[in-house]
């Protein structure tokens, strides 16, 4: 069953078409990476699917709910970890997690359990009483994803989750995302080939707002006769592999 089905999803900003007639399916429980260069339309797609931006035309079904007509119902099923860390800086790590759980109306018992689970999974114990604004970029990203997951979403949107992180923090975060695969449907945007290859079940390649190809990393490599996902990607978007 598909968790997300988009039908001709389009978004224009004046004369610029950021997303152009997108038809994309994301299966329940899979991690799909939206891959593309800057300006490909990845973030705009995620912002539309996360109810942050209305489509100019087209629609999407999110777990059976129309994006255009049932945005409020969809909000109960999804969560997002935006490009910026998006944490409340003067609240502690624990207070940030509690805020998200409370806003989603989790029962006290459930709230305590999921918060405990997030603290353990994301190894937040050592920074639990520290204010989020005082944490390093890597810790803030970790908290950002934990805040998205604490409300037990059916679908999680991760918008460039490792942007600006050093290689160690990035690898750590990959491990945490990898461990979460299968429990929640995840739509991740990235322009890092390595990230898409390491984490995703399938990769959707976008260019200039249009979907070029969808498949597993291996399928994309086979399709283009490339030895790496990076070469396959360059081949798909029409660039010469160096």
């Amino acid at each position: 069953m598909n968790a997300i089905e988009t039908h001709g999803l389009t978004r224009r900003f004046g004369n610029l078409t950021a997303v152009d007639g997108l038809d994309l399916n994301v299966r329940e429980g899979e991690l799909l990476a939206l891959l593309g260069v800057n300006g490909a339309g990845k973030t705009t797609t995620v912002r539309m699917l996360a109810t942050l931006l209305s489509p100019t035309s087209g629609d999407a079904e999110i777990l059976g709910h129309s994006l255009v007509k049932e945005a409020q119902a969809i909000k109960r099923l999804i969560a997002i970890s935006p490009q910026d860390s998006a944490v409340a800086p003067n609240l502690t790590v624990w207070e940030n997690l509690r805020l998200m759980a409370d806003l989603h109306g989790l029962e006290p018992q459930r709230k305590a359990e999921t918060m405990e689970q997030m603290i353990e999974r994301f190894r937040l114990q050592e920074v639990l009483r520290r204010r989020a604004g005082q944490l390093s970029g890597g810790w803030q990203r970790r908290l950002s994803i934990a805040m998205a997951l604490v409300c037990e979403p059916k679908i999680l949107f991760l918008d460039e989750p490792t942007l600006g992180l050093d290689v160690i923090a990035r690898r750590e975060l990959w491990g945490l995302i990898e461990a979460w695969k299968g429990k929640t449907t995840i739509l991740l945007t990235t322009h890092l080939m390595q990230e898409a290859e390491a984490l995703s079940d399938r990769v959707a390649v976008m260019k200039s707002g249009r979907l070029l190809q969808v498949g597993t990393p291996k399928e994309l490599m086979d399709m283009s006769g490339s030895a790496s996902l990076e070469d396959a990607f360059l081949s798909l978007i029409g660039e010469e592999a160096q």
Binding site: R47, S54, I80, A86, P89, L99, L103, H104, F157
Partner: protein, 241 residues
């Protein structure tokens, strides 16, 4: 209920910012002390506590606009609001969540100003409580104005507009620094149409027990309602961007 959850977060964000104490409380108290000191050394009654104290409480309320605008602008800039927009919070719950925590903070600030004035010689009377409560519409005006500006300007811009421009406008147009009758004419007429002077006038009347509370109260309430409506409209508009 959800707006109260959001309000709790906003209260913590503001109260844990040291600038809140420095600007919100420290600065008005310093001004109160300085002007009282000046009054003690000049032969005319310019800054007597019964007329000065309501003015200083209103001047202090101008900082509420700075706090609310900075909080909203910061949330917008950090994408924190984007995250919250994917939660079941409704548009009105956001607006109330920003306004609710600042109202008690504003009234507490007025009360502290009055207590400081009492320590400097203001006669203790139950009318001080009336003055504090009477500041509610002015507090709502400033908080809403901040919310409106924070919805359209970035953090740096609101620092300039609310931190410098609005606090100065409040001071100069409210008749706190000087008696408006000294200038009179068009300047006085304009000031009388604005909420700054009327909020101070309301406080002075409540503190002294003088008649004629209805007009300043009505004018300040009108401005508060207009600012709240503008805040809601501008906040809803930026939600859709």
């Amino acid at each position: 209920m959800r707006s109260l959850i959001f309000a709790r977060r906003n209260a913590l964000e503001i109260l844990r910012d040291p600038l809140t104490l420095v600007f919100g409380l420290g600065f008005p108290l310093v001004i109160l002390g300085l002007l009282t000191l000046i009054q003690a050394h000049i032969p005319v009654s310019l800054f007597e506590l019964p007329t000065l104290t309501p003015g200083i409480t209103v001047f202090g309320l101008a900082f509420m606009a700075l706090f609310s605008s900075q909080l909203v602008a910061k949330d917008r800039g950090s994408a924190f609001l984007q995250r919250l927009y994917t939660t079941p919070l409704t548009a009105w719950e956001y607006v109330l969540g920003y306004v609710i925590p600042l109202l008690p903070i504003a009234l507490l600030q007025s009360l502290v100003c009055c207590l400081a004035a009492m320590a400097m010689g203001l006669a203790p009377t139950f009318r001080i409580l009336l003055l504090v409560l009477g500041n509610t519409p002015a507090a709502l005006f400033f908080i809403s104005l901040g919310l409106a500006l924070g919805s359209v300007l970035n953090e740096k811009q609101v620092g300039g507009v609310c931190g410098a421009l609005l606090t100065n406008l409040t001071a100069w147009l409210s008749g706190v620094w000087f008696d408006l009758n000294l200038i009179g004419g068009g300047f006085k007429a304009v000031c009388e149409c604005l909420p700054f002077f009327r909020a101070v006038q309301l406080g002075q009347k409540l503190l002294s027990g003088a008649d004629g509370v209805a007009l300043p109260l009505g004018i300040v309430c009108l401005y508060a309602a207009a600012a709240f409506a503008a805040a809601a409209v501008l906040f809803f508009r930026q939600m859709k961007k």
